[in-house]
């Protein structure tokens, strides 16, 4: 739902980031307003997943430039847990298995950390069980999964449902879902996407990171962004995703080459013009 007057929740400006000294993000610009669903598409290696991890604060990624404002405040200055508490959520492409840690307890501790930040009362085990049982319905998840260790031995589909269950409990304002559709069969995809649709509201924003059109058949994005070589190359409506599905990504290479060539030229020109001044 696009409302031009809706408040800006996330504003990414010329964001640059590296992993192991390798630049991955090379100037990403993106603005999310309340009520909007954005899809970021692109090939493997285009920087989509890096963008999601940088926003969530993964320690392996180093921000080398640019800014991210979350409701007007600097997001990048915050620890990952603080970002989560104020309402940023990352749905993992590969949810982590944590043997020995009960899923129910994990969900409760996480929910209470968020509630404390919101000025709400912490939930005791009984109150939390009531809440979690109600939210399980969002993803039609079997309560038996609450008793197991976090994601341990879960199938791909169960792991993704567990991610959406966490989203349902944490009620984020900005949800970034990284390849939530990967590894899902068509039924699981429908359930998981159904959950995302239920949770999307006029007050929050969703950023879907995906490879394929098929997720966008069930979750209708307001904007589609094509990412390549660490930046957003083109932005359009949902028809852009269809176009990608039809044309593939080859045209992206051509555009990136053209873009990089023109940047090099500009750089060379800038250096050329500076040299005489420095000599003088």
């Amino acid at each position: 739902m696009i409302r031009p007057d809706a408040p800006v929740l996330l504003e990414i400006c010329d964001l640059r980031a590296s992993v192991e000294e390798q630049p991955i993000l090379k100037g990403v610009n993106l603005t999310l307003r309340a009520g909007e669903i954005h899809a970021v598409m692109g090939r493997n290696g285009s920087g989509k997943s890096t963008l999601s991890k940088v926003l969530a604060g993964h320690p392996a990624y180093r921000v080398t430039g640019g800014s991210v404002l979350y409701r007007g405040d600097d997001l990048l200055a915050l620890q990952p847990e603080q970002r989560a508490r104020i309402g940023l959520f990352l749905g993992f492409q590969y949810p982590v298995e944590i043997p020995g840690v009960s899923n129910l307890e994990f969900l409760r501790v996480a929910t209470n950390a968020r509630r404390l930040e919101q000025g709400l009362e912490e939930l005791d085990t009984f109150a939390f069980e009531d809440l979690v049982r109600e939210r399980l319905q969002v993803v039609q998840m079997d309560p038996a999964f609450l008793e197991r260790s976090v994601n341990e031995g879960f199938s791909g589909g169960e792991k993704k449902r567990n991610e959406i269950l966490q989203m349902a409990l944490l009620q984020p304002l900005v949800a970034i879902l990284d390849e939530t559709d990967s590894g899902l069969d068509i039924d699981a995809l429908r359930i998981v996407a159904g959950g995302v649709n239920q949770l999307a509201s006029a007050d929050n924003a969703t950023l879907l990171i995906t490879h394929y059109q098929r997720l966008l058949d069930v979750i209708t994005p307001d904007y589609v962004h094509v990412m390549a070589a660490g930046r957003i190359l083109r932005t359009g409506g949902k028809e852009l995703a269809l176009e990608l599905e039809e044309r593939g990504y080859d045209w992206v290479d051509v555009e990136i080459e053209r873009l990089e060539a023109s940047e090099l030229e500009a750089l060379a020109a800038a250096q050329g013009s500076r040299t005489p001044a420095e000599v003088g």
Partner: protein, 441 residues
């Protein structure tokens, strides 16, 4: 330049501190004067030890394990003390308090199926499982033989629904105690045991437990060893004044076919703890399940040397050993699995997982598989790591602070083993022990 006059160079055999310590110990601990199996054993063991040094790091089996904590314990028998205040046992638990002397069965009504082992059988079976597992001459076993003044020997005739809880609490007393146990499970019998050791003073507890499992018998044995060392800062080097408690524990089991043995051990807080679970499947075709969890902190040392020998075909082993090393502690695991030619179709799996929590801590872990039979499945693996960054980040990304996330992960690591202890172990708060926390009152 410094010249050393040749005449002043002396080759002196330094007195072995272990020898002096043993001599003092035996002087202060009068020999048994009866003609029991214990007395005969005591004489043998004292003689054997007289010519033997303390285990040293020159021996392969003690290569990583500093035994100086032993001689820091006053060489005297543990004084008789008032019974420690213990939490009341839950229902359906039979508690026997072990103190190294006196009869723990005095005045106790044993549940149906559990009885005192008759004298003839004791005579015949005493020491048999140790011998069968090749451990009769091990130093800790001899020390136990030299000091134990009493044996708790039980026969299990049938499935016993009551949990047998064996508790020793040496508190802050100073000295040495030897506990000797023998469990004989008749064919088809079953028993669940929880062995609890607590200590916080300059004392050494030596335990030798022999178990004999007849055909189809089942033994589930939990060992919870809760030491409490003085604060690491005070006890960088063990001295008599602030010595940390020592536990030397041998468990030797012999299994007949179709028997099931489960050993679950959780150990933390000792200046030195050495555990040797030894299992012989004497005709194969039995099932052995071993779970171990140990934690070191400060300058503590915990060493588990396990050995499982399959002397026949179709045996099974499922072993997981876990270790946490913090402070300047040292954790050692050596897991021997022996599969000779006659042990065809053995199915054995061993996994060692260690977490290194400090830069100064040390972990030595070694699977030791001797496999001669050719038609077997023997899997093994060993990992030593820090807390996983991806696991920490996952928890942090859900609003859980880094230190709380680390605690959750550590708890999870421990719970996997602790959850397998017999349920009444909850009374002793094993998690607090393993997390290095003060137990709740």
């Amino acid at each position: 330049m410094v010249t050393i006059p040749v005449g002043e160079l002396r080759v002196q055999s330094r007195p072995n501190p272990g020898q002096a310590w043993l001599a003092d110990l035996f002087t202060s601990l009068p020999a048994l004067a009866d003609n029991s199996v214990l007395a005969a054993q005591q004489q043998r063991c004292r003689q054997a030890l007289a010519g033997e040094a303390l285990p040293s790091r020159r021996q392969e089996a003690w290569r990583f394990t500093d035994t100086s904590a032993i001689t820091a314990i006053p060489a005297q028998p543990l004084p008789r003390q008032a019974a420690a205040a213990l939490p009341a046992p839950p229902a359906n638990v039979l508690r026997l308090v072990l103190a190294g002397s006196g009869d723990p069965l005095q005045g106790v009504v044993l549940p149906v199926g559990l009885e005192r082992l008759e004298a003839g059988a004791l005579e015949a079976l005493f020491g048999e499982a140790l011998e069968a597992n090749g451990a009769a001459a091990a130093w800790p076993v001899r020390l136990n033989g030299a000091v134990a003044g009493q044996v708790l020997a039980l026969r299990v005739r049938q499935p016993v629904p009551t949990l047998l809880e064996l508790v020793s609490d040496t508190g802050d007393a100073a000295g040495v105690q030897g506990l000797r146990l023998l469990l004989v499970l008749d064919p088809g019998a079953s028993l669940e045991v929880l062995e609890v050791h607590r200590a916080r003073g300059a004392n050494l507890t030596s335990v030798v437990l022999e178990a004999r499992l007849g055909r189809g018998a089942r033994l589930r044995h939990g060992l919870l060893a809760q030491g409490q060392s003085p604060q690491p800062a005070v006890a960088e080097r063990p001295t008599a004044a602030c010595a940390a408690p020592v536990l030397l524990h041998h468990l030797a089991a012999v299994q007949d076919p179709d028997s099931e043995l489960e050993l679950i051990a959780a150990v933390a807080g000792w200046g030195l703890a050495r555990l040797e679970p030894l299992v012989l499947q004497r005709s194969g075709a039995a099932s052995t399940r071993l779970r171990g969890l140990q934690r070191v902190d400060g300058s503590q040392v915990v060493d588990t040397h396990s050995r499982v020998l399959f002397a026949g075909p179709d045996g099974r082993l499922d072993q997981v050993h876990k270790a946490l090393a913090d402070g300047s502690g040292r954790s050692v695991f050596n897991g021997a699995v022996v599969v000779p030619r006659q042990a065809q179709r053995t199915d054995a799996a061993q996994l060692s997982r260690s977490l290194l929590l400090s830069d100064r801590a040390r972990i030595d872990t070694k699977p030791e598989l001797e496999i001669v039979a050719d038609d077997v499945k023997c899997a093994h693996g060993a990992t030593v790591s820090r807390l996983q960054q991806n696991e920490l980040f996952y928890l942090q990304s859900r609003g859980i602070a880094a230190d709380q996330a680390a605690r959750l992960l550590l708890r999870g690591f421990c719970e996997e083993v602790l959850a397998e202890l017999p349920a009444p172990s909850a009374l002793w708060q094993p998690l607090a022990l393993l997390m290095g926390e003060e137990p709740a009152p």
